[in-house]
């Protein structure tokens, strides 16, 4: 330790300066300071004065911009690389993000109303909007990323083609009225197009596991922002109805035809912009939300397994015990539960510091995954049972496929989580497992959207 008060002061000032960089965590500053002190000591020993040694040591450490960029590249969970890389280099692009986002949000809101010019209203043709909302709105979010990332033509084409295919499939397929395959196609196309939007988000860098992780993180935070905006929108809607109602006017049409559809469309883009612009706000919410809900969902799953065992037969419908899994609704509910579990897992994964050692939370996650795995198996057996008994339907096959996909995902996740908690595998393996799984979702949702309708006669 040096006794030079001037040097101590300089190091303290340097420390404060470096610590302002978001990409460099305080532990890293400690490490760099240790290095700096060693270097200063070495240089002083070879004859330099304290001041000189300090200057040389700082210089040898390298430019702070370059250094924090390198830290950001390695620790993209601290600060997503797009922000540091494009925006510290060109400070002007950030200010252009807001007008772009607002412009595209307005564009999305207008686009939703374009069909009304041809006499297609939300109230009369809810069906048209139901199936086309995604195809109308999501391109604006994708366009936001493509413009912001200055995407190449090839990337733009890769993103645009699936949207065109989805629009054709959803509108040109001769669905019979109230077709189950139409609902399935719409739902699955939504997920598929969201992942395609992710290609725009990562600017075509789809092979990179870290870029995929960034997109998963984006998805979680976008969802939080969207829900927040939706809550505000609900308050606005309620107040609009009440205020106009007070003076004897019915605002129902205004709300239904304009406020809600345009609001939803605009919110999709604005939420995307908010995630990028106001990152540090949600960064603090994500870990809290996962820590809050992971134990609760673990409890739900465990309680369900125990309750099912106490009730007697879970799957077989004996005369005495109620048929827990016999009802189709319940099967769908459990598909959703499993989806939420995987979502929580991904959300926790994306908010986690990859280098942190295994903690109680990771062990709890292992319990959750194991419980989800058990539930998944039970649901799977029940499904196969139903299909054997009543024959296959598009709904059942779609649920079954989703279940098999989730089962495979949870099995891998449980194994890797176990290896990680017991110290046999680095956290990075878990990350790669989940990011490697994204194409599976894309493939499956595309199959359900494109192949299912013709196979089941558009019924």
């Amino acid at each position: 330790m040096t006794d030079d008060p001037g040097l101590e002061e300089q190091i303290a000032a340097w420390r404060a300066f470096v610590a302002r960089r978001d990409a460099i965590a305080s532990g890293d500053v400690d490490e760099l300071e240790d290095h700096l002190r060693d270097e200063v000591a070495g240089l002083t020993a070879s004859g330099l004065s304290g001041d000189e040694a300090f200057l040389v040591a700082v210089k040898r450490l390298g430019g702070l911009d370059e250094l924090s960029r390198e830290f950001a590249r390695e620790h993209s969970e601290r600060l997503w690389k797009q922000l540091v890389m494009s925006e510290s280099a060109e400070p002007t692009t950030r200010s252009r993000a807001l007008p772009l986002a607002v412009g595209l949000a307005v564009g999305a809101a207008v686009a939703v109303k374009v069909p009304a010019l041809f006499g297609i209203d939300v109230s009369t043709d809810g069906d048209f909007y139901g199936r086309n909302l995604v195809v109308i709105v999501l391109p604006f979010l994708a366009a936001y990323f493509l413009v912001r990332r200055r995407a190449t033509l090839a990337t733009i084409a890769v993103v645009a083609v699936p949207f065109v295919v989805a629009a054709v499939v959803l509108n040109a397929y001769p669905f019979v009225p109230d077709a189950a395959t139409l609902v399935l196609a719409t739902l699955h196309a939504t997920v598929a197009l969201w992942i395609v939007t992710g290609i725009a988000y990562v600017n075509g860098d789809v092979r990179s596991s870290r870029a995929r992780m960034d997109f998963i993180r984006f998805t979680g935070e976008w969802f939080v922002y969207f829900v927040l905006i939706a809550l505000g929108g609900a308050v606005l809607t309620g107040l609009t109805m009440a205020v106009f109602g007070a003076i004897g006017l019915d605002a129902g049409t205004l709300v239904e035809e304009w406020l809600v559809p345009c609001g939803v469309a605009g919110a999709v883009v604005i939420a995307g912009w908010l995630v990028e612009a106001k990152q540090s706000v949600v960064e603090n919410i994500a870990p809290v939300l996962t820590k809050l809900f992971t134990p609760l969902f673990t409890l739900l799953l465990l309680a369900f397994i125990v309750a099912g065992l106490l009730q007697g037969s879970l799957i077989e419908s004996s005369d005495a015990a109620p048929e827990v899994f016999g009802q189709r609704d319940l099967l769908i509910v459990f598909d959703i539960v499993l989806l939420v579990v995987v979502g929580l897992l991904l959300y926790a994964l994306s908010a986690r510091e990859p280098l942190a050692p295994a903690s109680w939370f990771d062990r709890l996650q292992l319990v959750m995954v194991a419980a989800a795995l058990a539930v998944d198996l039970i649901v799977l057996v029940a499904m196969i049972d139903r299909i054997a008994e009543y024959g296959a339907s598009p709904n059942k096959l779609a649920s079954l496929g989703l279940n098999v996909i989730l089962l495979a995902n949870l099995t891998g996740a449980a194994w890797l989580q176990f290896r990680f908690v017991t110290g046999h595998a680095p956290y990075e393996r878990l990350e790669r497992w989940q990011t490697g799984y994204v194409p599976v979702y894309l493939a499956w949702t595309a199959i359900v959207a494109i192949v299912f309708p013709p196979v089941f006669g558009f019924a």
């Binding site: 330790m1 760099l32 390298g62």
Partner: protein, 122 residues
């Protein structure tokens, strides 16, 4: 002589793995060792070593823990993990091939250079 940026970047990982294979170490000492081994020719900005070490840590090649320096300050120590040993062995195999191939092509050239010099420039 200044070694090109790409070559420095490519050599950094095997260099650090190799040094850690000699035993546990920490940032400043690793850089000292790099400088010592290469007579000061192989160098990069000191700070850049740390993101590299963190990447190796994330990949599971090295393990890190906070220790204490002789002067009582916290110091982050790194050592090779079992996975790192394997990665080091693999890197070593690859570099051996490259370096032997280069050596060979240079010695071949050296043998001929006496009479090939005139045509080699074309």
């Amino acid at each position: 002589m200044k070694i090109g940026k790409d070559l420095v970047a490519a050599a950094a990982t095997p260099m650090v793995l190799g040094i850690l294979a000699e035993g546990e170490s920490y940032g400043y000492a690793i850089l000292q060792r790099v400088s010592e081994l290469s007579d000061g020719e192989l160098k990069w900005s000191d700070g850049m070593l740390y993101p590299l070490l963190h990447r190796l840590e994330r990949l599971g090649h090295v393990e890190a823990h906070w220790g204490v320096s002789p002067t009582g300050r916290p110091r982050k120590q790194y050592r090779l993990s079992a996975g790192g040993e394997a990665a080091f062995a693999e890197q070593r195999r690859q570099w051996t091939v490259v370096s032997q191939a280069l050596q060979q092509v240079w010695t071949d050239r050296g043998d001929r250079s006496a009479f090939a010099l005139g045509g080699a420039g074309a």
